[in-house]
């Protein structure tokens, strides 16, 4: 290798060349470039962060829901504070001296080098006097903020709120500085990075009196703020407002989805609150009272609360039975009330009629044939295998799955499997008789109203759905393609016909349990549910889609402690569908009754 010996000189020369380039640049920066000299004594530079306007929020038709209003915070960097006339500042802010020290203490405990909010949202009048005196208060500066304003009080759970960033988030995310506002819930939180835009920085030269002399280096080191993007929700604000009105004085939720694309048309959670309450200086106080209210209005029940689904789950059982081949469309089981209680109805000849009458013993038998497959001799082993097979299928309907809908706090619910009962009772210590109530949607199965509505959309589409989502468009970009791709469930299309037939009977024929959802001139398919509630009055639930042949809306209504599903949930669903599909209400009397009824939640 002797012949390459001199290459070490070339390599060293190259390395030295680059080192010298860096050294030249450093000498240039540190010695010759006068513009970068900032003496430590006089703060000749002032950086002003330019906050971009937060993106606005519209509904699916472009109606404005959320916009911005300017506000000002008085900020302080404790380290930069020097002796000044504290009394004068107290006068300007209309606070007393002990309050001043308390606020100062709070800022210092946050950080002595970083800015924190000294006084939140000063009034326009305070701002004008303060602006004149500000040069006398070194370390203090005014930061403009955007506050949210709402065109109406609807959709508080969907829109969410913004608030001052907490210390923990601040430390994790270098983008923010103390006092910044950040989305705390709803789309404000989920789409925070989209809505907020990007901050810019303007650097100014200031004199010893802290007055701005001009732009530093002609703005060469400035960065421009990029405004946030607007959000267009999938929500139909008229339908949403109507749903919230229907659910007033009741506890529960309504979820309406367009089965043709997964767009969520309405997402009502009741009780709700005026989103304006969480804006401005009373935010903290209002937030606490909402947080502590007995009815828990801050919870988005439509996506975060899960309940036993009750009889609507019978449809799911029928589907699994048909798909697994243990049930035929014309299978007959007698209404044997010695197995499980039922209500008087004609004999259920086949699956469709059983759905129409919501016959409990029928679905007890369906679930039994699903769990007891007779693969193993021991009923314990057999049930374990059967339940596992059942769980694999039924979760294909979107249960036990947290949908990424564009909101935080989506609850995945629960479908108990063999592991669950092994933990509860011990392995091979449970069998069908232990878990039979799952068959009629009671017991350990938990489903969110969102999942119920999506399940209904799956039926409407005969076997597929689109990821349910709440945002239609971000700025000028349409949302993620994944939201518009068909997701197929492990069920054959042919099995849905008999299910839909049963749901049609349930609404439109005698002895149907959902007759309160009839809309004249339209075929509505639905299923009621009444969920036994060990803590109080039963919950009322109803899912439906319409029109039968060309479904445009799939809806789930869940009213806590309202008793029979057919009595309260079904008419609410009917009114929602009429509002969306016909844009008018056929029977105003029913509407009036619903508006006026108050159903207290019992816990």
């Amino acid at each position: 290798m002797k012949k390459y010996d001199n290459r070490k000189y070339y390599i060293s020369a190259i390395i030295l060349f680059f080192i010298f380039v860096i050294v030249f640049k450093l000498i240039n920066l540190q010695i010759f470039d006068e513009s970068l000299k900032i003496s430590a004594e006089n703060n000749s530079q002032r950086r002003i962060t330019e906050y971009p306007a937060r993106g606005l929020i519209y509904d699916r038709y472009g109606n404005l829901l959320v916009y911005n209003e300017a506000a000002y915070d008085l900020m302080l960097i404790p380290r930069k504070m020097k002796e000044f006339d504290t009394l004068s500042l107290c006068r300007d802010l209309n606070i007393d001296i002990s309050d001043f020290y308390a606020r100062l203490e709070k800022c210092i405990s946050f950080s002595s080098f970083r800015p924190s909010v000294f006084y939140k949202q000063i009034t326009a009048q305070q701002y004008s006097t303060l602006q004149e005196h500000l040069f006398k208060y070194p370390g203090f500066f005014v930061q403009n903020r955007t506050l949210r304003k709402y065109t109406s009080s609807l959709g508080a759970h969907i829109l969410g709120d913004i608030g001052e960033i907490d210390k923990e988030t601040l430390e994790k995310n270098p983008y923010y500085t103390g006092g910044d506002y950040i989305g705390k819930s709803g789309v404000e939180k989920y789409y925070e990075t989209v809505l907020r835009g990007k901050k810019g920085v303007k650097i100014f030269l200031v004199d010893v009196h802290n007055n701005i002399q001009g732009s530093y280096m002609n703005g060469k080191y400035d960065t421009l703020a990029i405004p946030g993007k607007d959000l267009y929700l999938t929500i139909d604000s008229a339908l949403q407002a109507y749903g919230e009105r229907l659910m007033k004085n009741k506890v529960g939720s309504i979820v309406a989805i367009d089965p043709n694309n997964g767009e969520i048309l309405a997402l009502v959670s009741s009780p709700t609150y005026d989103p304006q309450l969480l804006v401005g200086r009373n935010r903290g106080k209002n937030y606490d009272s909402l947080l502590n209210a007995k009815s828990k209005p801050l919870i988005n029940r439509a996506i975060s609360s899960t309940y036993p689904p009750g009889s609507i789950f019978k449809i799911a059982q029928a589907l699994v039975g048909l798909q697994e081949g243990v049930l035929k469309p014309n299978t007959f089981y007698p209404c044997d009330v010695s197995l499980v209680g039922c209500h008087g109805h004609p004999p259920a000849q086949g699956v469709a009629r059983a759905i129409q009458y919501s016959c409990n013993p029928y679905f007890y038998m369906v679930f039994r044939s699903l769990v007891q497959r007779k693969i193993e001799k021991s009923i314990f082993k057999d049930s374990r295998i059967g339940l596992q097979l059942w769980k694999e299928k039924i979760t294909g309907l979107g249960f036990d799955k947290a949908f990424d809908i564009g909101l935080p706090g989506v609850n995945k619910g629960q479908i108990p499997g063999p592991d669950y009962y092994d933990r509860k009772y011990g392995k091979y210590r449970w069998a069908f008789s232990t878990i039979y109530s799952l068959g009629i949607g009671q017991g350990e199965v938990l489903v969110s109203p969102l999942q119920m509505a999506n399940f209904c959309a799956i039926i409407a589409n005969k076997g597929y759905y689109y990821n349910p989502h709440i945002v239609k468009q971000i700025g000028t970009d349409s949302v993620d393609r994944k939201n518009y791709m068909k997701i197929f469930t492990p069920f054959d299309k042919k099995h849905f016909d008999v299910i839909i037939e049963g749901m049609e009977y349930a609404v439109n024929e005698d002895y149907g349990t959902g007759r309160n959802a009839i809309i004249s001139g339209m075929r509505v398919c639905g299923k009621t549910g009444t969920v036994q509630n060990p803590h109080g009055k039963d919950h009322s639930v109803f899912i439906a889609f319409a029109p039968k042949d060309e479904p445009k809306i799939a809806i789930a209504v869940y009213v806590e402690n309202a008793g029979f599903g057919g009595v309260w949930a079904a008419p609410i669903a009917r009114l929602m569908m009429e509002k969306y599909l016909l844009d008018s209400i056929i029977d105003p009397d029913i509407e009036k009754i619903i508006f006026e009824t108050k159903i207290d939640a019992e816990q």
Binding site: I15, L16, I22, L29, Q30, S111, P174, G200, Y221, I226
Partner: protein, 474 residues
């Protein structure tokens, strides 16, 4: 006999430089995160407290490496390489994502970046392959071997979206050159790497790259041995360095684009004239056509980028090039960093007195931007001291590598020098605005356990090999 005198045979000067750099690093990490409310210097909730633990562990690691027999590294070079590659695969599956790159393992509160260690194993494997008696740059088999050794990790790291770390592996081109790669190939590759780095800074340089590729194509087409080809090569060299110089100091000029094009055309015209008076006309025609095409492309592409692409499309392009972790917009970090360093002046503001870094204007100031704190608080004197220490260490490793009796040790030594050089040049270059913000740490100085440990192991394996150079490893 050898065991008794191993500490005498150690290169204490390198070790001293190492210790100095680690100490400088710790002092500046302390300063970067300092707040008056912090009480103790061994506060383990603070970065400087944690760094003390990393330093202690690093010294222990160094000791262990000095004790392990040198033969271990030659015998297990490939095994270690395989482990390194496996770790890169594993991090793709089990790793977590930080700053958009999925390149970290997390165990409780402790995080580790396997790529730091892969640098060592690749260096060992490269030394093992190239020191083989059968290795030759004329053998296609040999070329394929080193190709695989180098590009497998590069590919995996690119998939992790850690562009900066992937680029480090290109630094091994120095090793290849030293061991006999043709100088034309070295030159071309080297310029490509430099231009790729510059291309990440602004869009204009992407186009420079295109010009370069075109010129290389011409170079390859022409006969290497002819005089005119050599002249072209030298002219091209001149052209590149002039472009680079204008690029570095382009802040001064407003019409950067215009200047580059003028230089481009002048140099190319000169080349053509010389070619015309010396040689074959076909080449000239071809060259002329390519030149025309490239110039048109330069002008139109730049126009398209600035005037036709929407901002979000422009962002996508810059993101593709790896400039992602810039929370306040492209250029913000570098601007703040330049202001911080520039405000340091000749002597600096003094320990703990840096205001630009203190007020959190510079992000990542204890990791990737630690050099800012040095520049601001210790001034030009401090920053030149650090650079001198690095330069001395790198050159010392190169010259001690040359003294090795085995090619394994020599090649490994060159590998260490190359990695250190790349990290130092790109990291410091980034803080002064010469190189793109790619997020690679400053060796021995930046906060963080995995980077400190990896650089310690890397260096001390060489120090160990060097101490055994009187022995024959093969």
């Amino acid at each position: 006999m050898q065991n008794s005198s191993i500490f005498k045979r150690l290169d204490w000067i390198s070790i001293l430089i190492y210790l100095l750099l680690v100490l400088i690093g710790w002092v500046n990490i302390y300063s970067a995160v300092y707040e008056e409310s912090h009480s103790s210097i061994i506060d383990l909730s603070q970065k400087y407290g944690k760094q003390l633990i990393w330093i202690g562990a690093a010294l222990l690691l160094a000791l262990v490496i000095l004790i392990i027999d040198s033969k271990f590294y030659t015998s297990f070079a490939y095994v270690l390489y395989a482990v390194g590659i496996l770790l890169l695969f594993a991090v793709l599956i089990f790793g977590i994502e930080i700053n958009a790159s999925k390149s970290w393992f997390q165990f409780g509160t402790f995080r580790m970046q396997p790529v730091e260690f892969t640098k060592i194993t690749v260096c060992l494997a490269l030394a093992q392959t190239m020191s083989s008696r059968f290795f030759s740059f004329n053998e296609i088999k040999s070329i394929i071997k080193i190709g695989i050794i180098l590009f497998l990790p590069i590919l995996l790291i690119f998939i992790q979206n850690d562009t900066g770390s992937a680029l480090v592996f290109f630094a091994f081109i120095f090793v290849l050159y030293r061991e006999g790669m043709s100088k034309e190939l070295f030159f071309t590759g080297f310029v490509l790497i430099v231009l790729f780095l510059l291309a990440m800074l602004t869009n204009l340089e992407i186009l420079l790259l295109v010009v370069l590729i075109a010129s290389v194509v011409i170079y390859i087409i022409s006969n290497t041995r002819t005089l005119q080809a050599r002249i072209m090569l030298y002219l091209f060299l001149l052209y590149s360095s002039l472009s680079l110089i204008f690029y570095f100091y382009s802040d001064i000029f407003t019409e950067k684009l215009l200047l580059l094009i003028i230089i481009n055309i002048t140099i190319n015209l000169l080349t053509m004239l010389i070619l015309y008076f010396t040689s074959r006309k076909k080449i000239i025609l071809l060259y002329f056509l390519i030149l025309l095409g490239v110039s048109a492309f330069v002008l139109s592409a730049d126009y398209i980028f600035n005037n036709i692409l929407q901002p979000h499309q422009q962002n996508r392009i810059t993101e593709f090039l790896g400039i992602t972790d810039d929370p306040l917009g492209i250029g913000y970090n570098v601007n703040q960093s330049k202001i911080a360093i520039g405000s340091g002046g000749l002597t600096g503001k003094g320990f703990l007195q840096g205001t630009q870094t203190k007020y959190n204007f510079v992000p990542e100031q204890s990791t990737d931007f630690i050099f800012c704190t040095i520049g601001e608080e210790w001034g030009l004197i401090g920053s030149l001291t650090v650079i001198t220490l690095y330069t001395f260490l790198i050159l010392r490793i190169i010259f001690r590598s040359e003294k090795q009796r085995t090619s394994f040790s020599r090649i490994y030594g060159y590998g260490v020098a190359s990695i250190l050089f790349f990290h130092v040049a790109v990291n410091i270059g980034m803080t002064v605005g010469l190189t793109p913000v790619v997020g690679i740490p400053l060796p021995f100085l930046s906060y963080g356990g995995s980077s400190l440990w990896a650089f310690t192991i890397l260096l001390f394996i060489f120090i160990k090999l060097d101490s055994d150079r009187t022995e024959n490893l093969r």
